[in-house]
Assembly symmetry: C2
Homo-oligomer: 298 residues x 2
Amino acid sequence: MTAEIIDGKKIASEVKKELKGRIGKLIDSGIEPSLIAVLVGDDPVSKQYVNMKHKACAKLGIKSRIVTLPESTSESKLLDLIGYFNQDNTVHGILVQLPLPDHINQLKINLAVDVNKDVDGFHPANLGKMLLGKPSFIPATPLGIMELLNRSGNNPEGKHTVILGRGELVGRPLSVLISLKSNGANSTVTLCHSGTKELGHFTKQADILVCAMGRAEMISADMIKPGAVVIDSGTTAVDDSTSEKGYRIAGDVDFESASEVAGYITPVPGGVGPMTIAMLLANTVSAAEKLAGKSDER
Amino acid sequence: MTAEIIDGKKIASEVKKELKGRIGKLIDSGIEPSLIAVLVGDDPVSKQYVNMKHKACAKLGIKSRIVTLPESTSESKLLDLIGYFNQDNTVHGILVQLPLPDHINQLKINLAVDVNKDVDGFHPANLGKMLLGKPSFIPATPLGIMELLNRSGNNPEGKHTVILGRGELVGRPLSVLISLKSNGANSTVTLCHSGTKELGHFTKQADILVCAMGRAEMISADMIKPGAVVIDSGTTAVDDSTSEKGYRIAGDVDFESASEVAGYITPVPGGVGPMTIAMLLANTVSAAEKLAGKSDER
């Protein structure tokens, strides 16, 4: 068997096309959806992520502004800035790029962002609402994975989803989201992690296998059930002398061998990545619509 | 094999004994731990639960007060009352007995309780903090199940825990709690529910099987892995003409047959139930200690 590729770029562009219509309506009614991205320090990878988000906004007609602060910025100064944007009614979404410097308490920052502008979905109250199955902002990567599955014809309902990795950005929230009693979810879910013995025992049972560990190419074909849907959310830089940059980005799955066994598979890059950005944009548009009174309460 | 009984009453009394020491210290320093229980309407089961909590408080030296409101109480009136107790510094814990009448939005009520007095752990921000593995108030039943496991020598670390039922009071929060990267947790977890096909396929793999579906005696011996730890959180009233009341309380597990296969098992009643009350008391004592500056930030 050769797996069908789930094309994240293509699905993300479908999502963005739909957003364009919603953005047009907002602009027609005098509301310009707007996102503030706060970047503390000058980590090149964080910088690159923020720039990608900024460009994606611009392309779609979302006003976006990057606020860059020095690494030495105090926690209280960052809190003040968030408070300022919370008050600004022309700002609909606020994201604080992670990771933050060690002297800043990430939880405090997440708690400071107005829950109605928390387009990253990292505020505990939004995570808690998600857990209760109530409307909330949902972190972009798990939300993107749900879209990838449903839009590729792989509705997780009634299936057994095995998730590898319990990180707060992907595996943990996805394990909640995909098992909610709602359409397009309703999956039986197993959450595996660094404390799991015999990983293969679980992965081989997965109708849907989501890998979010960040360990390069750890999942091989013999760990995958024939015909399974394999979603790879891993991105690890590995040395590669054949590449111009000297490295390449590897997923958690050994793509070549896995695609001989799986029924569907996402590539890295071009799978989950583009969806993460698309869903951040979707959350921002939802936030603007909510302010305009066009959407359900979140 | 005949399973060893996990005696919830005995373990709960151990927990309460430890609390007594903490309560004594608080009282010595001039702080009388205090709980407000709000009961809306006159459902006899809710009344009975609230009374049990009240009595347990009294026995231990926690000041407790039941505020009973008529079924017709408006949402805004209930919100006002919660606001009043939020402001009252002599009140450390506030619980609103569930279920609420249909005309009251439960989420709004949960959101109204001060996160630092939310001894039921139902505020979305507390649930979200739990999901992030941060200190928070944790709902009493899942917290009680964690204590039952650890205090009976059945640390879930490295084990495969299968949970039946994704309700917001037990199964859902426990699935998060038991898989956190922390001592006494760190379990691989599978969450099954009404959308799960072939339940037995999953239950038979469980080192620890937690039943929280509320379906009387649905889990039979043939669904249990020999030697497994079986925790039964179900309580369903079933007709029983041999009982004085005309009914008896049944768990989700067919205790007689299951106890021939399991290694450990909780009875119903006398298993999870007493732990739920003990952990509510523990949360109230923690809230009082926090106000006294004796505990970590929640």
